[in-house]
């Protein structure tokens, strides 16, 4: 078997699984292993760079040595299935969740998820936000029934770990035993900058309900239920003027 598909499959296996001379029967000059190693090492170094860019908080928490070991294992077990690197890394949080050596640091999964959500927000589609004027003149009933979408980059996250505090100052949390504490975060890129905002739990309930395609009334009730003293008006006004919403697709 020396068809092109077979050669490519063996080459890829050599790069990702680490065999030294995957094509020794095709090129046999005695130096194939050394030259192939250059290609393999460059591939691994590039992917390591890409993932270090995508997961800066995770890298700081783990330190360079452990982060490199994690990524090496990830590359071997979950090579990219796309023909570009933009989406590579989406499975890393799940990979960490299954990683036995990291099981004693369960917060890493949510930290990696926040890093990835921020990374995905950079590449998410732009959308024309709905301004307050579009909602002016609606009756209270129409407002309650309104279906708003969050802009494509926006994702509300809930964690049992202080992920926002960790993201703000990862170095302070490196090598620490982190205590569980609920935190809610919104990642969104309304303009050119990715924003990472700490949310009130009721504010998270509001945005999560909208993200799950609930009506504005349902989302507002969910927020009120989460905390009756929550200042719904100011929070919703802030996100509306901040350009967080778009018209929901019919």
């Amino acid at each position: 078997m020396t068809g092109l598909a077979d050669i490519q499959a063996r080459f890829a296996a050599g790069v990702f699984q680490g065999s030294d001379a995957p094509l020794a029967d095709l090129v046999d000059d005695g130096r194939q292993a050394a030259r192939f190693a250059v290609y393999r090492n460059n591939t691994h170094a590039s992917i390591l760079d890409v993932l270090a860019d995508a997961f800066p908080t995770l890298q700081t928490l783990l330190g360079d040595r452990l982060f490199t070991r994690l990524v090496t294992a990830f590359i071997r077990n979950a090579p990219s299935r796309a023909n570009h690197l933009l989406d590579y890394g989406a499975e890393l949080p799940g990979f960490i969740a299954l990683s036995e050596p990291l099981a004693d640091r369960p917060w890493l999964v949510d930290v990696a998820r926040l890093d990835w959500t921020r990374n995905a927000a950079y590449a998410a589609a732009d959308a024309t936000p709905l301004g307050p004027s579009a909602l002016q003149g609606l009756t209270p009933e129409a407002l309650m029934d309104l279906r708003l979408s969050l802009i494509p980059s926006a994702v509300p996250l809930a964690s049992g770990w202080p992920v926002h505090a960790i993201w703000m100052n990862a170095a302070a949390f490196a090598d620490e035993q982190i205590r569980p504490r609920d935190e809610h975060v919104l990642v969104a890129r309304p303009g050119m900058q990715v924003e990472t905002l700490l949310l009130h739990p009721a504010e998270h309930a509001l945005l999560a309900a909208l993200h799950g395609c609930g009506s504005l009334g349902e989302a507002a009730m969910a927020a009120q239920e989460a905390d009756p003293s929550f200042d719904l008006m100011t929070a919703f006004a802030g996100h509306l003027s901040g350009g967080l919403f778009t018209a929901s697709e019919p």
Partner: protein
């Protein structure tokens, strides 16, 4: 149920108030459709994708501050204000470089 409808009344009032409040706050920023490719305003490593010279193909790879061959998305007004240009140019943006 009466309590439910009372609750939803207060929620509706809060939402109505929010719409008015939002209108008074800063207007929603210019949208992506209003942006132009603006050369010469990006810090090293902060460029959007692919430059004029083709020396790199993706975001964040420029190594010179305010290089005239690198672009970011910006509104036309913002671009002019920062001394950028809407076509690539040689050298760096002196206005930002200082």
């Amino acid at each position: 149920m009466k309590t439910t409808s009372l609750k939803s009344l207060s929620v509706a009032a809060a939402l109505m108030g929010a719409v008015g409040m939002a209108a008074a706050l800063a207007p929603v920023e210019a949208t992506a459709a209003d942006k132009v490719k603006c050369y010469g305003i990006s810090k090293a490593g902060q460029n959007d994708c692919a430059n004029k010279a083709g020396t790199h193909s993706c975001a964040g790879q420029s190594t010179v501050d305010y290089d005239g061959g690198e672009w970011k998305l910006a509104t036309a007004d913002k671009c002019a204000e920062m001394g950028g240009q809407q076509t690539a140019f040689d050298g760096v943006n002196d206005k930002l470089k200082g």
